[in-house]
């Protein structure tokens, strides 16, 4: 199993059940107790934990926002291959794919490039560079330079090297022409006119009116739909005119598939309500179904012998995978039913799906928190409020050998980690940490935060740092050397890390030490570890003496866990996926004093009244985060 590098995930408050229902929150107003303790393995947590980079920050609500809770607005659509912007008006008419010459290989999804078939042999002769430029004439093909697929395999060539999309729309696989959507529309109009003319004498015998050989060629979807629509409209009109005669059937017909009521209802759903006639509700009567292609009858082709024959000749190598089938674009006007494309010969080049640039809004106050420049090629952002510039980043390193990460954590062997908090804001912040002394889940590892409360200096200007660098850097480097010497002497890690003391501090960062005793993953030990746990915890409590809050919290936890231990229903099912990953939930509370901005700060995390404008305002922000340390070795 791949070793895991330490990570920090932060919980977005949008998924906090406390935010969803205020009642549960008020019942337990104190610091998070054990049942409130965030469980990183709970299924719900999957949706709320994000690395810091993915989180945004609403400046007005003073809250973290995650990709799941922000409201997105599309700024621009563009093709990811040619990087041209597509106006949203085109999007409605042309669909969500690039209509230039950008295609993906239907076999490997690599990009297809247009090349000429004619010049290919000529270039093999390695003609001199001063030769006249080879005329790019003759048929062009789309070819994939990754898997060597080319459009000749499906029998498609192009006359021009540009506007491939339109050329492709006119060709079926094998090179036969295909009607474009517009041509089909024209044809439908003609048919509709001829149908209208022939309607008056004998509406029930359309076979006589067709006679253009339509029956051989299967109808495309649009034609079928319009044929059906006109047929049913006609039927509705007829039943309207001849109503009264079949009133007694209404009770039955209302539910039937062929009843005008349900038909008009269905049609109003699919055509946008234009056909829905209020009066028609009163009418009833059974209508007949479509009988001919002109009325929209499409006999489904249940004869699979050609497919079987194809399979006989080409074998399974000629069939396509599910991914390839799913990547196929719906061909407008062609039936794209399940299993319709099963062979490589039926694949079509895939026009690139368009991509978007999106701006993001806070879901609560509707302020924009991220807005890219509308131009496709620029990478600048007009607004970009990322959480990384508001809340401290947390990095995790093993204390003893910061360079080499251990492959796996040894069970029941204490390890110490250095957590480095880096303050991004220009005010000094006070940080309070809280973590359960035992990680939630079946295999509880013991966790001791040696210094749960500390202050980090402000993130001053880089210039200040540069000017100060001379004196400061030497100090820290000396300390580092000392540490290294100590480590070289083989000192025990526990001696160095003192409880309640900051491990190391810099300009805008502070490192503290967390001691972890990974749990044993042996299932037979599950029962013993749950009972013999109480005493250890009392020890850890003594170590952590700074914070009153912390202590209360722990007592609560202990009580809870003791109760649990007495119940002792031990789940001894085998190890579940990722249950060996040691994850520590940690509650982080940040307090700082910021310049008060104005009266619009009444909501959110500000606790002080925002009346006095010059007075510094006290702010706080609190959230859960999860420190992933690594996998525990299974013994």
């Amino acid at each position: 199993m791949a070793p895991l590098s330490p990570y920090t995930y932060i919980q977005c408050p949008c998924s906090d059940p406390g935010n969803l229902s205020s009642a549960t929150r008020s019942s337990n107003p104190s610091s998070p107790a054990d049942e409130d303790c965030f469980d990183p393995r709970a299924p719900r947590s999957n949706y709320s934990l994000y690395p810091l980079e993915y989180l945004l920050f609403c400046d007005d609500c003073h809250q973290i926002r995650c990709p799941r809770c922000v409201a997105e607005e599309i700024v621009a659509y563009y093709c990811p291959s040619c990087l041209f912007e597509v106006p949203s008006s085109n999007l409605k008419s042309e669909g969500n794919r690039c209509t230039r010459s950008c295609f993906q290989c239907p076999v490997c999804i690599g990009p297809l490039s247009v090349s000429s078939l004619e010049t290919q042999p000529e270039s093999n002769l390695l003609s001199a560079p001063d030769n006249a430029p080879a005329p790019h004439t003759g048929p062009y093909i789309l070819s994939c330079s990754y898997c060597n697929w080319s459009s000749t395999e499906i029998g498609i060539t192009f006359d021009k090297p540009n506007n491939i999309h339109a050329q492709l729309a006119k060709q079926r696989n094998g090179g036969t022409t295909r009607l474009t959507a517009k041509e089909r529309k024209d044809r439908r109009k003609d048919m509709a006119q001829s149908g209208l003319r022939s309607q008056s004498p004998t509406p029930a015998s359309p076979a006589a009116t067709s006679g253009t050989g339509q029956t051989q060629e299967p109808l495309d979807l649009e034609t079928q739909f319009t044929n059906l629509k006109t047929f049913y409209q006609r039927q509705l009109a007829e039943s309207n005119s001849s109503h009264g005669s079949s009133m007694d059937l209404s009770s039955l017909g209302d539910l039937g598939f062929a009843s005008p009521n349900s038909l008009s209802r269905i049609m109003s759903i699919y055509t946008g309500g234009g056909l829905h006639d209020k009066k028609a509700k009163a009418r009833a009567g059974v209508m007949r179904e479509a009988l001919s292609p002109d009325e929209g009858l499409q006999l489904s082709d249940l004869d699979e012998s050609p497919a079987i024959a194809h399979l006989h000749t080409h074998g399974h190598a000629g069939t396509i995978t599910t991914e390839q089938r799913l990547a196929q674009p719906p061909n407008l006007g062609e039936p794209h039913l399940h299993g319709a494309t099963r062979f490589e010969s039926t694949l079509r080049p895939i026009p690139y799906l368009l991509r978007t640039k999106r701006s993001k809004r806070c879901p609560i106050c509707r302020h924009i928190i991220s807005k890219p420049e509308a131009k496709v090629q620029t990478t600048r952002f007009r607004i970009r409020l990322v959480a990384g510039s508001y809340i401290p980043s947390i990095t995790i390193k093993p204390l003893n050998n910061p360079a080499a990460l251990p492959e796996t954590l040894e069970p029941l062997k204490p390890v110490q980690y250095v957590l480095t908090f880096k303050n991004p804001i220009f005010d000094p912040v006070k940080i309070t940490l809280a973590s359960p002394s035992k990680t939630p889940g079946r295999f509880g590892s013991k966790v001791t935060v040696l210094c749960p409360q500390f202050e980090i200096d402000a993130n001053t200007d880089v210039w200040d740092e540069a000017l100060k660098d001379g004196g400061d850097a030497s100090g820290t480097s000396r300390k580092r050397q000392q540490q290294q010497q100590q480590q070289r002497r083989g000192d025990d890690g526990g001696q160095q890390a003192e409880a309640g003391k900051i491990w190391e501090r810099g300009r805008n960062w502070v490192s503290i030490v967390v001691e972890v005793v990974p749990a044993s993953l042996r299932l037979d030990r599950l029962a013993t570890t749950t009972t013999g746990k109480g005493q250890d915890e009392r020890e850890t409590k003594e170590v952590r003496d700074d914070d009153d809050e912390e202590e209360e919290e722990e007592e609560e936890e202990e009580e809870q866990e003791d109760r649990k231990g007495k119940k002792a229903i031990v789940d001894t099912s085998p190890l579940k996926e990722d249950e060996d990953v040691l994850e520590i939930p940690m509650f982080v509370r940040i307090e700082w004093e910021a310049d008060s901005v104005g009266d619009d700060m009444l909501g959110g995390g500000s606790s002080a009244p925002a009346r006095d404008k010059d007075v510094k305002e006290k702010r706080e922000l609190a959230y859960w985060c999860v420190l992933g340390l690594g996998r525990v070795r299974q013994d």
Partner: protein, 197 residues
């Protein structure tokens, strides 16, 4: 500067480039380094693969650019990677085209890059193959072991992986700073400094 008694592992130029002595740079006159670029040992840059057919427009004027590989500032070429200008048929004859790389581009160990253009702030993982004439725009992350097919265009803020490579995600808004290579630049050289925590 480089003739100091204890010969360092790197040659450090006036513009701040750190070129490992064990790197193989072929055709150095056709390679442009923007400054503060790190070239680790066993890196190969094929500067000898220059354009053999001059473009019509540039042949008339001043000596056409003979640049084969142009690299911007703060790039980091890890051990064992290879930069190779892409070759293609131009008007019926085979020629190489220049490989242009922007600023803050990280190329992971063992990767082979034959792109035509790489923008700024691009991270290419280890053992990646970037196919010929690929275009990689700004803020793109290519994960380890990907094979970018030839002629592929990767738009900005894409996370790319797979064989053949496909866009599998977007670079989040808060992840832009992670592409900065200024700190990494300081950690290598003849007197490397430890990375700031």
């Amino acid at each position: 500067m480089s003739r100091r008694p204890p010969r360092g592992e790197y040659i450090e130029t006036d513009t701040g480039n750190k070129v490992a002595r064990k790197a193989t740079l072929v055709g150095t006159q056709n390679i442009i380094l923007g400054g503060k670029t790190v070239i680790q040992p066993e890196v190969m840059i094929r500067g000898d693969l220059i354009r053999s057919v001059q473009a019509q427009s540039s042949s008339g004027g001043a000596p056409a650019s003979n640049t084969a590989v142009a690299i911007g500032r703060y790039c980091f070429l890890s051990r064992g990677c290879c930069l190779r200008p892409p070759g293609r048929l131009y008007k019926g004859a085979f020629t190489y085209m220049p490989l242009r790389i922007g600023d803050h581009v990280f190329v992971g160990p063992g990767s082979v890059v034959q792109a035509a253009f790489i923008g700024n702030h691009v991270h290419i993982g280890s053992k990646v193959a970037v196919g010929e004439s690929a275009i990689i725009k700004d803020y793109v992350r290519i994960l380890d072991g990907s094979v970018v097919p030839p002629n592929m265009v990767i738009p900005s803020f894409s996370v790319v992986a797979g064989q053949p490579a496909r866009v599998i995600g977007e670079v989040p808004e808060g992840g832009h700073e992670a592409f900065e290579l200024r700190d990494l630049y300081k950690t290598v050289g003849n007197n490397p400094q430890p990375a700031p925590s």
